[in-house]
Amino acid sequence: MDIANKRGVLLLFGIMACGITVADTSVKLPEPKEGQYVHQAPTLEDLEKDESLKPQLKAVIRKGYDLFMNTQQLRGENVFNDMNCRTCHMGEGRKMWAAPVWPASTTLPDFRGKNQHVNSVEERIAGCFAFSMNGKPPAYGSDTMLALVAYQQWMAKGAPVYETNIAGRGFGKLEKPKLEPDYGRGEAVFSENCSVCHGDKGQGQKNAEGTVVFPPLWGDGAYNWGAGMTRIFTAAAFIKHNMPLGQPGKLSDQDAWDVAYFINAQERPQDPRFVGSAEATREKFLNFHKHTLYGTKVNGRVLGAHTNTGEKPFLKPDNLKPRTFEQGSDSW
């Protein structure tokens, strides 16, 4: 036996002796709670089979699906980073614990704490474009907006309107971790579990033709400082219930919190609601930013202390504006 061969056998023996067995790769997700509404969103196959829908509507829903899955077709117009809708809303926007989008169609219009007013479905989608896509929302009433709304609402088929006790809504919620989330531990979790796809510097990966396959997690191509994903608890739940791809529930809660902290302690494009300094912006939107590291000092530097808007040539999209209903009446 030559040396190389011997080494191979020794190594193999070593691995077996160390007790490395085939990993548990099963899907581990929470069960719906008693009394929660559980929705089975339809698939594209169901769409084709559904004879109750007019062909013209089906065409718009298909367009919505196409935009949802490949939102990069709006790059430079509405999208100024490497994200697609499906990047966060995994499983075609249908799946529990992967921020299914259909509940927006059954629970809106409603008041949202994030912008302190009553939001329509279109406005909710506009929020995704302004923050998560670091972009400019498609105009209200535009073909793009209609298609996205149609896809989303069709997936809600059969769900009760204004039922808010929905199983698997958002990404779920994790219990607070035993240990405060930690940058160093998070970095180790990242290197071991995330970097193979998202790159060793969180830069994501493109194929040879330049199409984004794995999204960047920070930097100019990532979600900006106003995106819901910058909240540590949101990212932790997303990671726990969706990552690594195909193995939901693989990471411990602590690992999910730690790596969410690490990722969200990196720089990204400015919050479009910026009022001149990260500290002041944090203070103004503290109901949101109390869950982020924005405007705080991490490793000796204040996060978000810059005017970088990434690829986007402006800070705030003009259709992101407050509403007032001061003329409306409080009661009959």
Partner: protein
């Protein structure tokens, strides 16, 4: 216990440090020297690197045009026993680290051609395309394309091109992951998905991928 493990850990460290290699003084990969080394590969992988499908027997994958670092890792894994193959292990064991780099670079720069005539039923066509392009999320099967990229043309060093790979080879590898005999994929990414695939899924997706044009 600790004492007992030591020699094994030492051999692991040795294998990894040989395998990792970047710290050692290696020359840049030389595809021309790699072509000389490939003399030992062509009986199976063919002179043009397009491999060969052998129905009912071990199939020989196409190497032409695959990512060089992906090929390198597979050779090191065969050598180190992280990927099991009675056929490949003796060959991989004959290669020095430099030869691994050279021969991988040689195969990576070859232009692949489609050599397998694939026929599939309408049902296989529909199922194969669905799994490759959209996946089946109700069974937590993400699309092939979500890691292997658009048109399954491959992404970086960890996600090889599947389009135009031999159907029998794809089928055999999915089976190997499913039954646990292959597990050298990073973070069990492929293993987890393969375990959820039925025989029908594996057949359909292997055939569909094999039929796709090579990018």
């Amino acid at each position: 216990m600790k004492k007992q493990l030591k020699p094994r850990i030492a051999s692991l460290v040795l294998a990894l440090s040989c395998g990792g290699a970047s710290g050692l003084a290696l020359a840049d990969a030389d595809p021309i020297k790699g072509q000389q080394t490939s003399a030992m590969c062509i009986a199976c992988h063919q002179a043009d690197g397009n491999g060969k499908s052998n129905a009912g027997a071990e199939s020989w994958p196409r190497l032409a045009g695959l990512n060089a670092e992906y090929i390198e890792k597979q050779l090191r894994d065969f050598r180190g026993g992280l990927r099991q193959s009675a056929t490949m292990m003796p060959f991989a064991n004959m290669l020095t680290e430099q030869q691994i780099k050279n021969v991988s670079a040689y195969y990576a720069q070859l232009t692949p051609t489609h050599t397998e005539a694939v026929s599939l039923t309408d049902e296989q066509q529909a199922l194969g395309k669905r799994l490759a392009v959209r996946g089946d999320w109700d069974r937590y099967i993400p699309a092939c394309n979500s890691c292997h990229g658009p048109d399954a043309a491959g992404v970086g060093k960890s996600f090889p091109e599947l389009a135009g790979q031999h159907s029998d080879y794809i089928r055999q590898q999915l089976h190997a992951w499913k039954n646990g005999s292959r597990s050298n994929d990073p973070n069990n990414l492929m293993l987890a998905v393969a375990k959820r695939m039925t025989e029908q899924d594996i057949d359909a997706v292997a055939l569909w991928l094999a039929k796709q044009p090579i990018k």
